[in-house]
């Protein structure tokens, strides 16, 4: 038979259409493992979205705090018969420091207070005063000073925070100038409140931190993101605007979907198949978070690196004999298929909500895997994201 071109084409075209490869369900199982997980992405997005929203609201609240009130509305000066309020000076924390330095170098004789000058607030002033006295970094803090008409001397009576509205348009130099002539000519002695504030400026370097978040490190088809929790202590050393911190914390990561299956077949008269299904439920890691932070007012931006050592895991082991479940139990401390060291760089943002408390958010990724990927059937990303909300309390 001689083969013309059209015959060859027809033969191959028909043959191509006739090929029939039987389909098996196991083929779909392989394919399913490759398919994207919509739920997990959505969950990850929403949790992160919610976290960022909370942080955004907190930051917005910081700037939108209602401080734009006239001084007259806040300060209601009530003086005694022999005293007359003559001067109200508002200074920034920097000016406060200047004030202290000035008073230390000047030899002044200030008589004991003979009058009481009370500043009462009709609305927000007490709240401000309270916050200012507790937090030495509180920027709205200010000092008011009164002179006595009888003695002609200034009595730095107490700290009364006023709105920085009056000085918001003035530079720090202007504020210093505003204050210095009075201190130089008459002399000031810091009140106990001022001393207390400046004494408390150096906060305790030790802190306790709690982190809670989600990780996309190890995912399988049926799983969502893995929740992580950690708690630890740390030490922070502050140099100017920079802070260096180191800590020690224990992290617990819930990884319900990590599974390792081991099958062995024993041949005797017949053969018996033993299957061991190890489901890793939790990973316990000891971590040493190291960070460098830049502090700007109450905002802290940090970068860091967290080496970790896997302490162990909680696993559920199920043993099958010829497909029948024979035994099922939980074990603590199993390290099958796991690796010891981990390394996670991170960036973070924290906000000081009070003198002792900071809240923030932290984004980590993972450079070293904690599990042996050759035994892992799910989706292990190269640089998985780990998002965490952090709460830090300074120890006293």
């Amino acid at each position: 038979m001689s083969w013309e071109d059209k015959d060859i084409d027809k033969l191959f075209r028909e043959s191509a259409n006739q090929v029939n490869v039987p389909f098996q369900d196991s083929f779909w199982d392989e394919m399913e493992a490759m398919l994207p997980q919509k739920k997990k992405k959505k969950g990850f997005f929403w949790v992160f979205g919610a976290s960022f929203t909370v942080i955004a609201v907190m930051i917005a609240g910081t700037f939108l705090y209602p401080t734009q009130r006239p001084v007259s509305a806040k300060l209601n000066s009530v003086s005694t018969a022999n005293s007359t309020p003559t001067n109200v000076v508002a200074i920034s924390p920097i000016a406060q420091a200047t004030l202290l330095e000035t008073n230390k170098t000047m030899e002044t004789t200030v008589e004991e207070k003979t009058q009481h000058t009370n500043f009462k607030s009709n609305d927000h002033a007490p709240r401000f005063q309270n916050r200012a006295s507790k937090n030495p970094f509180f920027t709205e803090g200010a000092i008011s000073a009164h002179t006595s008409s009888n003695t002609g001397k200034i009595n730095p009576t107490f700290l009364t925070p006023i709105s920085y509205q009056n000085i918001v348009n003035q530079t720090e130099t202007e504020i210093r100038l505003l204050f210095r002539p009075m201190s130089n000519s008459i002399g000031l002695q810091p009140s106990k409140n001022i001393e207390l504030q400046l004494k408390n400026r150096k906060s305790n370097p030790w802190f306790v931190q709690l982190n809670a978040g989600i990780s996309q490190a190890y995912l399988r088809e049926a799983s969502t993101v893995s929740p992580t929790f950690s708690i630890g202590v740390g030490y922070q050393k502050q140099v100017a605007n920079l802070a260096f911190s180191a800590g020690l914390q224990v992290q617990n990561m819930f990884v319900n979907s990590l599974e390792i299956n081991r099958t062995s077949r024993v041949y005797h008269f017949a053969s018996t198949t033993y299957q061991q299904e190890i489901q890793i439920k939790q990973l316990y890691t000891m971590e040493i978070p190291l960070a460098v932070s830049m502090i700007k007012n109450r905002h802290t931006f940090s970068v860091g690196l967290t080496p970790g050592y896997l302490l162990g895991s909680l696993v559920k082991v199920r043993e099958f004999e010829n497909g029948t479940l024979e035994q099922q139990s939980n074990y603590l401390g199993q390290r099958i298929g796991l690796k010891s060291l981990s390394l996670k760089p991170h960036v973070g943002y924290q906000m000081q909500v009070s003198k002792a408390w900071q809240v923030g958010i932290q984004i980590q990724t993972q450079l070293l895997d904690q599990i042996d990927l050759t035994q892992f059937a799910g989706e292990a990303r190269n640089f998985p994201l780990i998002g965490q909300l952090t709460i830090r309390k300074t120890l006293f």
Partner: protein
């Protein structure tokens, strides 16, 4: 089995049941295409899975009402196979160059035995693996998949003239092999 618009929409929304239905459909229609580009079923299935992943991802961003799914899916699969072919072209030519005369004889004998046992579609298609790879690809794209020489040239980074030459070479080599098969089967039957 027919794939409806509802199934495609469900697949785009990551409905596993619908995706399995679509996979089974694609397996039957696209696996033969993949098998033409690979010597074994495992590699063919791997290419099919990669293609199916692209199909599922593509469903999310395409207008499903206007979609001719069969043609679109086949196009994605073919492009995937050609991409893989491009990546492995260098390796394959190196591999083929290392074949010894003895290996070629053994390989040819297997083909002959297949042809003797079954002059069926699989044996016919296996002949494509016995001719130079580029010629086989051009033959498959032109004759079976219906691409033009211009399209083949763009896909395989060659000129239209080269594509025509490969087609001519493929037909010539396939003719020789078919004639050889024709002559051997009657001999076997006579014996």
């Amino acid at each position: 089995m027919q794939i409806t618009l509802e199934v495609l929409k469900a697949c785009a929304q990551q409905d596993r049941k619908a995706q399995k239905q679509l996979y089974e459909y694609c397996f039957r229609s696209l696996m033969p295409v993949c098998l033409r580009y690979h010597n074994n079923e495992e590699d063919a299935r791997s290419s099919l899975n990669i293609s199916f992943l692209k199909i599922i991802n593509g469903l999310e961003s395409i207008d499903l009402k206007e979609l001719n799914f069969n043609a679109w899916a086949k196009r994605i699969t073919t492009n995937t196979l050609i991409d893989e072919y491009r990546k492995s072209k260098k390796h394959l030519s190196h591999y083929q160059g290392k074949e010894t005369e003895r290996e070629l004889d053994i390989h040819a004998e297997i083909i002959q035995n297949d042809a003797e046992s079954e002059f069926g579609c699989e044996s016919i298609l296996k002949l494509l693996t016995q001719i130079p790879d580029a010629s086989a690809k051009v033959f498959g794209l032109y004759v079976i998949d219906g691409y033009s020489h211009k399209e083949i040239g763009e896909l395989l980074d060659m000129s239209e003239g080269t594509s025509k030459w490969h087609l001519s070479t493929a037909r010539k080599l396939l003719r020789e092999k078919l004639e050889k098969m024709n002559t051997q089967i009657p001999q076997k039957l006579v014996i």
